[in-house]
Symmetry: C7
Subunit: 253 residues, 7 copies
């Protein structure tokens, strides 16, 4: 109780440190990320993979309506986890930055540069008063100078570069799975399989095409591509993860 009362004394103001140097509102925003379904990013030798869990709470909700993978530029995709409306704000911000870069310098924005524009924007919401932090984490993947790059933005506004990562629900289990199975020499197809394997590992071992979102940016074309249901189904089939589609009354989000 003492500890809790202590914590409560410092966790309700955004622009304030606790006595041990923590920013509680940022930590709570991380909890908001965990409340969202998982998203995974994997960097392979010939491209990056973004895969998301997008199980929907009602059979009447359009699958496409659960937007967790977004195109930021021709060569960059972003997967999100957490507060959906917040994610949309950051995606809009990212797209504007990409356009501005193109306009100003006549060339596509780099994956790293874009990520840092986003995290610097996020940081402002953790230091300056009058607004709350963003309750969302993004995985930014794309090709820069012919190399696949994969970044994370977290609610504190810190950019991280990863070989492979998971954000959102079950992050700990998924990250552990990725660490165990990641192979530096994997191809894009291997990466797709690893991402789906990881998602299935926290979903009873199989997945329905409608429950998954999948996209890639390959080194060859430098083009962001979102997979349609058929390609997802065939990818699941290749990975031996295709679940049986029984019409459930699933009402969880």
């Amino acid at each position: 109780m003492q500890g809790q009362a202590q914590q409560q004394a410092y966790d309700r103001g955004i622009t304030i440190f606790s006595p041990d140097g923590r920013l509680y509102q940022v930590e709570y925003a991380r909890e908001a990320v965990k409340r969202g379904t998982a998203s995974i990013g994997i960097r392979t030798s010939d491209g990056v993979v973004l895969a998301v869990d997008k199980r929907i709470p009602s059979p009447l909700l359009e699958d496409s309506s659960v937007e967790k993978i977004h195109k930021a530029d021709d060569h960059i995709g972003i997967a999100s986890a957490g507060h959906v409306a917040d994610a949309r704000q950051l995606i809009d911000f990212a797209r504007r930055q990409a356009q501005v870069n193109q306009l100003r310098y006549g060339e596509p924005i780099g994956v790293e540069g874009l990520t840092k524009e986003i995290t610097d924007h996020i940081q402002q919401y953790t230091q300056v008063g009058g607004a709350r932090p963003f309750g969302v984490a993004l995985i930014v993947g794309g090709i820069q100078n012919g190399e696949p790059r994969l970044f994370e933005t977290d609610p504190s506004g810190t950019p991280y570069e990863w070989k492979a990562l998971a954000v959102g629900a079950d992050r700990a289990e998924l990250q552990e799975y990725l660490e165990e199975h990641y192979d530096d020499d994997a191809t894009l197809d291997d990466g797709i399989t690893l991402a789906l394997d990881a998602l299935a590992s926290v979903n009873d071992g199989s997945l329905l095409p409608s429950e998954v979102g999948l996209s890639t940016v390959d080194v060859e074309t430098e083009s962001f591509e979102i997979f349609d249901q058929d390609r997802i189904e065939s990818a699941l089939d290749d990975a031996d993860l295709l679940g049986e589609d029984e019409p459930e009354d699933d009402d969880e989000e």
Copy 2:
């Protein structure tokens, strides 16, 4: 009590997360939506249906005065549930966006694009201080590229696309009813019947024409149409739901 005291510590500031990553003010705004009478949207093969419960608290109140269905553009209608004055603000915003789009690009705004303009506007009221969230949910329905589309905006600022949905009072029961009876191949007339059936299911099985609002946007004409009392009566008659109109002293809202 502990839990409640805990909750109270975090639910009175808009721009603040609770320790488990929730935004209480947004959740309370969702309660404001539930305090409004129900609204239903149904997407059919040849158009969308918007139907609303508009029982009025006094016989002297004009039926037309309970505005729950609004024209956003020639090809888009919006049904609302929740805080009426808030709904009017969002409808005004939507209309301005539609006009701006027409002016700027010389073409009608898309249903999806309009919905997302609205939800991005809503999100701002959940992150930046100095105002409360909107206590209203909207169902945005219309035709885009010849296809019927149906969206929801909720108080968090998240856009959802639906085949059929209910917002406001009795949402759970109504949504369950829609899930059970929705048919992907239904015609616009089937959709009207389903919407009225659903509303009647939570109203003792019958409805008065004055208690219902009804509108459609069909694929053919791409025109938003509000039904007058005669058409509503005939639709209720067709659906075998026409209640008997006895002058009650109903004083509930």
Copy 3:
């Protein structure tokens, strides 16, 4: 006590929802309306009637000083109940809107349009911080396209259209009286009598000319007219409601 403490936790901030989705400050503003003397509006086949209770607290106070009926435009009148200074702000706003409309479009503003301009203005004070809601309700009556129209604005910013309504003190009793005696085919003179009957019903059955305000907008002339004491006296006489004028030391407001 628990309930009360609960309520107090949410009722002191304007821009905040309670856990059950209510806006307490708006509800308290409705109480401010009830603290004002009653105002009545009645729509008849050939015009609208606005009647107000304007008993004055001191014989030295000028009757005309209790302003509860206001001219908004040549064809629109407004009766108010509640916080007088707030009412004046909204009346000023309404007049400016009427003038702007005339200037911009070269035609008089509609009764409905004017009402909604007012309610949208009111709504802002319930959502954006830094000010309290308006503690006043208005009855807006006039002729639009040759038809009599009668609207209410409440402190939440919701517009309602009525056949007949009462706001302010004794609203419940007065509204019940109107519901029992309202006749869709009544003439303007019938409407005047009904309004006076209603006011008298909560005043021991009779009224003094100085205690009543009366005005009409008839379909023929489309002109807002305020009755002088003689016309009021004759109207009371016609309605058999003329009270005896004894100089009381009445000190209630």
Copy 4:
């Protein structure tokens, strides 16, 4: 205690209603008015009278320094009661409004129009945050269209028109005195006598010239006139109210 604790919960924010629809800060500002010495206004057939109690706390304080009667325009005077510094702000505001009117329309401002400009200004300080209400009441008297007019502004921003009124200390007793002795056909001189009688009635029956301020605006000249000590003394003498001037150590304000 319960009641008090209740009240304290709502009386410390300006822009907030109490559960019963009251604005406590406005009511407390009315208490600030009562802390000031009394001011009286009387409308007669041929002009208005403004009379004020201006007893001074120290014999070294200049009588003229207690400013309670102010010239607003050639034809309008204002008497104040309550917080002196606040009164000065409103008087300045009134003078500027009078000048602006002259400049803009080439004619003197009306007494009623000026009063309402002032009350609308006052109202803003009761609704919009960041400032407290004005702790002062004004009596605005003058000639408009050849007619004497007499108005009051209170801290809520409500304008009242009176035949005769008192504000400040002893308001209840003074108002009762005025109600008993007011005569609609009184002349300006009668009005002066009535005002002095009233003030004397709460001052042991007599007054010193230095303790009273007196001014008139008569219908003939339409000119605001402040009485000097000689005229006040002669008026007191005429009214048989002239007290004996003994140098007291009066230290009340």
Copy 5:
């Protein structure tokens, strides 16, 4: 205790009235004035006298450093008591007003006009939020239209005109002394003596030249003059008040 708890509920916000209509922050600012050493102003038939107690806490502090008498314009001097840094702000404000007046109207500012510019400035800090009141009182003395005038500004922003007054520490005793000994026909030299007598009366009957500040504006020259130590010494000598200068270790402020 109850009374105290009551008071504490209302005394920590600037822009807020207490239930009995008081502004506590203004009253506390008056306490800040009392914490400063005394200042005295005296109006005589041929000029005004400003005299101040300026005992210094350390022998190493320069006498001239305790600035309590200031030149506002050639013909106007100001003595202050209370928070020194606040006084400097108001003096700067007064000097700017004097210059602006000269520039705009080509003539020196009046003593009364200047005083009221200052008090109106002070009032703003008692009504509008975001700043505290000024913790200082000023005595403004000078010649206007050939007449000596003497004013006070207090923390509420009220202007007073005096024949003679004291502000700061021991105000009550000093004011009583002045009331007893003030003579309307006194000359400037008599005024100086009275001022020094008063100061000595609360200082064991004698004064050191270094502990006193003295200045005059006489009707003849209309020039503000500050006395140097020699003139002060001779004035003290004339008044038979010259104390013996023993080097004390006085460490009080």
Copy 6:
């Protein structure tokens, strides 16, 4: 408890002193610095060394992603410890200042001048409301007028010049180590060895190349250089500190 309750009364507002003259929020920001891994700066006769502990929490996280050493200008490097997102803001600020200086004066910014621009920027966040202090300390090293210079910026906004210093975790132990082993005549290579020795002293005596960041600015070239893994490995080897790289499941940050 008393002491703690006391402290809590003053530590939650940024722009507020405690009774003993401390700024708690600044002190808590210093705790945020200690939560980051250590950074070390060493000034030698022929250049400065920046060395950082950059152990990463997951084998999938890119080493390069943990940015603790930054180039501010060609001749100035900055090492950081503490809140990463805050560090990025200050680095951006530093780079802009360097560019502005080059643009404005046509010459590179001095190390001292740049440091003070940064600390003055930091100070603003400790005095003006609406934002929290920066939770980061920087070590700014470079060549100015041919001399190596080494500075620290702390969360209070104070600049310090050092011969050698450590910030972040284990500051006390590291600083003590540096004080014991620092030699004024050391060469750049000696400095590198001392920095690595110090880091190893709190890391079981050995380091992995991937866990260390290293950079120098030497007097000769005046160029900031970041060491790649090979150079780091060889430096560790030279210092006899090369640890064995066993693939651990290290999950600490």
Copy 7:
């Protein structure tokens, strides 16, 4: 406890007086000054001396890094005590004021004028909300019109002129020492000795050159001069205060 609770009720808001007219935040800022090491200023017949205690907490910290003596203009120096980062802000402000004066009037700023620009700036931070007071005291010394002048600025924004003063730690003892030993006819060299004697008196009777900062502005050259270590050593030697430099592990600040 009662007294403490009382005090706590008023000491956490900047722009607020306590019931006894005190500004607690300003008083706490004075405590921040006392937390800094001492600074001394002495005015002599032929110049001013500024001397500071600058013991450093670590042997690796550059002596020059502890900046307590600053050049404000060619003829004015400033010594500070208290919050270092705040001091830097005021020094910057002072330098800009000096430049502006030179630019605007073509002549160097006076010592008194500069001091008052600084104190007026400081005062703003004690009256207007949104920032805390400056936690620093300055000693401003220089030559004005051929005369040595010595001023102090304190956190309330009050300017004082001194013959000799100490600020910061041990102020009371140091000031007492100065009062006992100050000689109006002392030369600049005497002043240096007195300053060092005073500092030594609270430092076990001797000082190390590295622990002292020393500077002068003499009447002859009107130039601010900072002493280097050699001159300080020789001054200490002259004053017979030279301590023995043993390499301690002194870790206090």
